[in-house]
């Protein structure tokens, strides 16, 4: 994936960016070099032109001096003045030589130097010769028109012309280069953005294809999740933003699905444990029943005999103990094989009153106040198995009475409520709370309180709450145990008013899990 990203984005972008960079740098370097050499050549040419002009000026001065000599008093001192001009001329010839670039210029300078040397040699000779006035004039005239004009002035002119031509040439070359640079920059300016555009389009296209490819498995996943948790709206034309939102939703829902899986795993484990415990309980009960019955019948038969074989009190103790053992066995069996629900409609208030009557003797004996708070004055008709609901009530109230210390109280609260925790429309039902002022439930137990053989009472086998939970759930209701904030425990039972058909019930329970 990483190399894929490099190939798809980094490489083209790098290519597109580096190519103009290289071209730009090379171009700038080339322009810089050219400009530098051109400016050197130009400065040399300018220097040459200056030298040329100065040479021309020097030569013209000499000519003017000689002409003044010829046309004036013809004093040889004037010729001496001309000789002094040699230093000026030599100076500029040297400078001109320095500025000479081309062979032609160098030739002109060499010619100029020879001509100049020859002119001054001849002039010196004339001065030293001390010729008669006429001859001197003639000789100077020749020197002026011949040596100076052809051997000195002409090469100087030539040098100047050559330099001027050079300047023109380098000007033209400069113009040419400027044109090239112009076109080059134009080309770069057009090609750079164009290639960027093409590469960007390519990358964008590649990515939009990748997004479409990516959206297919996402759609697939969303579709699969739809079946379990509910719809996720998603179109194939979606962009990155929507994919991100959908991915977030999918992640959330996967979390929810995992939670449900974990919950159903726990439920399955619980059911397995219950089944195992049930089998064991049935086995124990089975084994106990026959000997118990034999013992009871013997004891009951013995109590009829006269004279009694055992003291009457002993016999009754025996019988009581046997009855207690039998009750335990009953509980085991109830737990192992829950009886079928026989539903009929009855008023829950009647059942509550009966139950409270049954428990009131025990409550009185243990000094526990027992009362019922009906939060509705109406009758509370409910469709359920009366015997089983009585068992639930008895279990919960007896547990509470046993848990409360002397002087405490136990009370029932009943109110009609709707069940809104399920999927689908809310169902009318009854909430029944059994509250006490006892020590409360050990927090370490948590929901394990409803598991078999888990109990808080010192006596008892710990199946009561487990049976209650099963009865309530088989009626389509729920039961939970909490500690009240003011101390003591509260068991809350919710039962539907009207029983749903068994299949619907199971489906509801399954879908709620």
């Amino acid at each position: 994936m990483k190399s894929n990203v490099f190939l798809r984005i980094v490489a083209p972008v790098l290519g597109i960016s580096i190519l103009p960079l290289i071209i730009g740098v090379i171009g700038a370097w080339k322009v810089h070099i050219d400009q530098k050499s051109a400016s050197t050549a130009l400065s040399l040419d300018v220097e040459g032109v200056r030298s040329g002009w100065n040479l021309a000026i020097g030569i013209r001065d000499i000519r003017t001096d000689l002409n003044q000599f010829l046309n004036g008093e013809k004093d040889s001192k004037q010729l001496q003045e001309v000789l002094k001009r040699k230093t000026f001329l030599d100076d500029w010839i040297r400078k001109a030589d320095d500025a000479a670039v081309t062979q032609r210029e160098r030739n002109s300078v060499e010619e100029l130097r020879q001509g100049s040397d020859r002119f001054f040699d001849e002039l010196k000779g004339l001065i030293n010769a001390k010729l008669p006035h006429d001859q001197l004039t003639a000789k100077v005239r020749t020197l002026l028109s011949d040596t100076l004009a052809t051997k000195v002035l002409a090469p100087a002119q030539q040098y100047l012309t050559a330099n001027e031509e050079d300047i023109q040439g380098s000007n033209a070359a400069n113009e040419q280069m400027a044109t090239w640079v112009k076109y080059g920059l134009l080309l770069l300016g057009i090609c750079g953005p164009l290639s960027g555009l093409v590469a960007g389009f390519g990358i964008a296209r590649g990515y939009s294809r990748a997004i479409v490819r990516l959206s297919l498995p996402i759609q697939d996943a969303a579709g699969k999740l739809n079946e379990i948790v509910g719809p996720i709206t998603f179109s194939s034309q979606s962009g990155l933003d929507e994919i991100e939102i959908v991915l977030h939703k999918i992640a959330e829902q996967i979390g929810a699905v995992l939670e449900r899986l974990e919950e159903s795993r726990r439920e399955a484990l619980r059911a397995e444990q219950l089944a195992a415990v049930g089998q064991m309980a049935a086995g124990i009960a089975h084994e106990l029943r026959n000997p118990l019955m034999a013992m009871k019948i013997l004891v009951q038969a013995a109590s009829e005999e006269s004279p009694p074989v055992l003291a009457g009190r002993d016999l009754s103790v025996l019988e009581e103990e046997i009855t207690r053992l039998e009750r335990s066995t009953e509980t085991f069996l109830d737990f192992a094989r829950p009886p079928e629900i026989e539903r009929r409609t009855f008023d829950l208030r009647t059942l509550i009153n009966q139950t409270l009557d049954l428990v009131s003797v025990r409550a009185q004996r243990q000094g526990v106040q027992l009362r019922c708070e009906l939060l509705s004055e109406r009758a509370l008709p409910i469709q359920a198995d009366m015997g089983q609901i009585r068992q639930v009530l008895l279990n919960l109230v007896l547990n509470a009475v046993d848990a409360v210390p002397h002087g405490g109280s136990v009370w029932l609260e009943i109110e009609p409520t709707e069940d809104d925790s399920r999927i689908g429309s809310p169902r009318p039902g009854l909430t029944l709370r059994v509250c006490d002022t006892g020590p409360g439930l050990p927090t370490a137990l948590g929901t394990r309180i409803f598991e078999p053989f888990v109990g808080t009472k010192p006596s008892g086998i710990g199946l009561g709450l487990s049976i209650c939970k099963r009865i309530v759930e088989s009626h389509g209701g729920r039961i939970k145990a909490e500690n009240r904030s003011t101390g003591g425990a509260v068991f809350t039972v919710w039962l539907p008013l009207i029983a749903a058909p068994l299949e619907t019930e199971r489906a509801l329970v399954a879908s709620a899990r």
Binding site: H286, R289, N290, A294, I297, Q300, A301, E326, L333, R337
Partner: protein
């Protein structure tokens, strides 16, 4: 020697419990036999013409149901009290006329129920296959019972 003695057949695979039940149900006017094998029980039904059968459902291999069907076939009006650990078995029991009691029943309740059943049915019924001209005497029954249950 009383001739109008009602014979009660206790079919119980737990021999000790069967013996205890037979002893508890043997009182003036009643004679109870205990048997643990179904084949012997069937034979006794045919030879002893009991007025009532007390049958334990907790028999292994489901033989109790077969026995109940067989007895019902040969003597349809013979009252049958079924002793069970699970009252819900009632719905799947083939003989609908039978009474069900759980094993936690008290002796006095059991005696009342036996008495009620006996008073309903009257004298013992002679099975169709053995229309014998005489009724067995209790002494014989007891001897027979002790010989087969040992």
């Amino acid at each position: 020697m009383q001739l109008n003695v009602a014979t009660i057949l206790v079919v119980e695979d737990d021999a000790t419990l069967g013996e205890v039940l037979a002893k508890a149900l043997t009182r003036p006017g009643w004679c109870a036999l205990s048997v643990s094998s179904t084949s012997v029980a069937l034979r006794l039904v045919e030879s002893e013409w009991p007025q009532l059968i007390l049958l334990d459902m907790c028999r292994r291999d489901g033989a109790a149901i077969e026995l109940a069907e067989a007895i019902h076939k040969s003597s349809p009006n013979l009252p049958l009290i079924v002793l069970t650990a699970f009252p819900q078995q009632k719905s799947s029991f083939p003989v609908s006329t039978s009474r069900f009691v759980t094993k936690s029943i008290n002796l006095s309740d059991l005696r009342q129920m036996v008495e009620a059943e006996l008073s309903k049915s009257g004298p013992g019924e002679i099975p169709h296959r053995f229309a014998l001209p005489y009724k067995s005497v209790p002494a014989l029954s007891r001897r027979l019972a002790s010989s087969v249950s040992r």
